[in-house]
């Protein structure tokens, strides 16, 4: 259930990219995977606790996002919409299989870290890593909100999201905003990846499901709406968990997809979208 907050964080990143430049990043989940592996190797090779790898991940994924935007996405944006949809599939397939090639498809976990174990709260066993991840996600989300509303760049991003043409007229450098938004969106996956690595299975194809769930969340919240993504993420987390209890756990994903379909039929613009 707490995973919903991680979903929120990931969805915020995805909806930011969507809102600013109308691109659906199918490789979002794979960026997360890269983040997870980065933390894994930082821990394995340099003994850096995943929690401290958060800033490193953020920076690395930010850079990676900007580069991918600059050299790949930007080219496709002038092309037909179909190509824009397909190109990130290509990146996704490339990244996940490259990871499989370099690091083998094996499942890995990080062993004991600084914040391991469980916390006994009146009989309920709370997993500390999951708790910390959830809290970390919320904190990061709040930081993102603050950034968007209170810094110059952040406000510029919001302006472009709302009305690209008007923003351009106002003298905002849309290209730069595109790069930065893609960077931020990717950085958020790095942050999530670092935190998830403390308790989640790490393997090259872990991104697929996360990516798909993120889309449903973003659509539920309304493409482009940061608050919507946040709320929808929590909602999906709750529904997924409930669904797992009520029905067979393997139906969890199907329920999330059904949620998307029903929402989009009744209220196409999602919870808060425009």
């Amino acid at each position: 259930m707490l995973i919903g907050l991680v979903y929120s964080l990931l969805a915020i990143g995805l909806t930011l990219i969507w809102g600013v430049m109308n691109v659906l990043n199918f490789a979002h989940g794979d960026f997360l995977m890269i983040g997870m592996f980065l933390s894994y190797w930082l821990y394995g090779l340099a003994g850096v606790d995943p929690m401290f790898s958060v800033p490193i991940n953020a920076a690395a994924l930010f850079l990676m996002g900007m580069l991918i935007y600059r050299f790949i996405i930007r080219k496709v944006m002038k092309g037909p919409p179909l190509a824009q949809l397909v190109v990130t599939f290509g990146v996704s397939i490339f990244l996940s299989n490259l990871a499989a090639l370099i690091w083998t498809p094996d499942f890995r976990t990080i062993g004991h870290t600084l914040l391991s174990g469980t916390w006994d709260v009146s009989g309920i066993q709370l997993s500390i890593p999951k708790l910390v991840t959830a809290i970390g996600s919320v904190l990061t989300s709040i930081c993102v909100f603050w950034f968007l509303r209170n810094t110059r760049t952040g406000k510029a991003i919001l302006a472009v999201e709302m009305d690209r043409e008007a923003a351009l007229i106002m003298g905002i450098n849309a290209e730069r905003i595109n790069s930065i938004s893609f960077g931020i969106g990717s950085a958020l996956t790095g942050v999530a990846g670092a935190m998830l690595s403390t308790y989640y299975y790490i393997y090259p194809f872990v991104g697929g499901t996360f990516g798909l769930i993120c889309f449903c969340i973003v659509a539920l919240g309304g493409f482009g709406s940061i608050e919507g993504a946040f709320i929808a993420g929590i909602l999906v987390g709750v529904v997924e968990t409930l669904g797992g209890y009520l029905l067979d756990p393997s139906y969890k994903l199907a329920i999330v997809f059904a949620m998307y379909l029903v929402t989009v039929w009744i209220r196409p613009q999602g919870l808060r979208g425009w």
Binding site: G79, P80, F89, I93, F94, N97, F215, A219, L253, Y260
Partner: protein, 320 residues
């Protein structure tokens, strides 16, 4: 009947001869690659009817492919129904399901529609993975019957399969051609431009979108039945997964979406490439072939997003 020039006849004759003779001089693996090529070409042409022409970018065609495969196989296994009847049944079920899911999605366009199609296909896959009646995750094994056309089954050689899928492909191309030059085709393209303009022109957008989806689903489902009869084993992870849907879109996009023959060209490039690279590079499970595939997708989207067909026809026109 418009005049067919002598030149066109020669070209058609040459291509036909080539296609008929080609499998006779190829290895079984080569024949296998050709069969898969035509299979994906057929799916690509089917995709085009709703995607390239009507603008509904479906990333969920695998659902119809799988339902086609499962319907005919299930009917064969349980009720000993001929696969050819199963073919028709699968097509009808897929069309009806397509209409059922398409109707509430009537107002969805672009990315929203794409994700809806993925959501739908994934739900289908998950349901089939858990549905005991159709074998759940273990899938279905098609029973070995005596080799014959009526049984839609051949053991001694792949050749009959080759000619059958070629015939299916020609049928799909004929259907697409007919749609493209008829009222339906014009209306589809108006819908693709914008729902508003289509409505102003008197087009019942909801109804025509359903036509597009249903035709597309039927043809894709036929391909699925063929696959089942060819490979003789199906499970959700081999017939209903997202990568199949993506490959179908790619084939159409690479060749040239919204042209009749584009997907055929796209398949001729993409399928042999991925099959041969899998054979040569994928054997250790390294996934190198997939890395190449992913790179290819990315590069094509960046540099030739309108497809090869457009480039070829421009070349031909220029050389005249």
């Amino acid at each position: 009947m418009r005049d067919i020039t002598g030149k066109q006849m020669v070209v058609t004759g040459a291509i036909s001869t080539f296609l008929i003779v080609l499998p006779l001089v190829s290895s079984p693996f080569g024949q296998h690659v050709m069969i898969l090529t035509f299979l994906f070409a057929m799916c690509g042409v089917a995709w085009n009817v709703m995607g390239g022409y009507a603008g509904m970018f479906s990333f969920g065609q695998a659902a119809f492919f799988g339902i086609g495969a499962y319907t005919s196989s299930f009917l064969l296994l349980t009720f000993h129904v001929s696969p050819w009847i199963g073919l028709a049944a699968g097509g009808i079920i897929s069309s009806l399901l397509a209409a059922a899911i398409g109707y509430p999605c009537s107002n969805l366009r672009g990315h929203y529609f794409a994700i809806a199609s993925i959501a739908f296909a994934e739900i289908v896959r998950i349901v089939f993975t858990n549905w005991q009646v159709v074998g759940a995750a273990e899938g279905l094994t098609i029973p070995m019957l005596k080799e014959s056309l009526a049984h839609f089954m051949f053991h001694s050689s792949k050749l009959p399969y080759y000619y059958i899928i070629l015939a299916f492909l020609l049928l799909a191309v004929a259907v697409c051609r007919w749609v493209a030059s008829s009222k339906m085709g014009y209306y589809f393209r108006a819908i693709k431009e914008s729902h508003e303009i289509a409505q102003v022109l008197g087009v019942d957008v909801v109804r025509y979108r359903l036509y597009a989806i249903m035709i597309s689903a039927f043809l894709t489902s036929m391909a699925g039945t063929f696959y089942a009869q060819y490979i003789l084993y199906i499970d959700p992870d081999s017939v209903m997964i997202l990568p199949i849907s993506v490959q179908i879109v790619l084939v159409a996009m690479l060749g040239g979406a919204s042209t009749v023959l584009g997907p055929v060209i796209g398949a001729c490039i993409l399928v042999p490439l991925s099959e041969y690279s899998r054979a040569w590079l994928g054997y250790k499970g390294t996934g190198m072939d997939m890395i190449i595939y992913g790179t290819l997708i990315t590069v094509i989207s960046m540099y030739q997003p309108n497809g090869v067909w457009g480039a070829i026809t421009t070349l031909i026109r220029r050389s005249k």
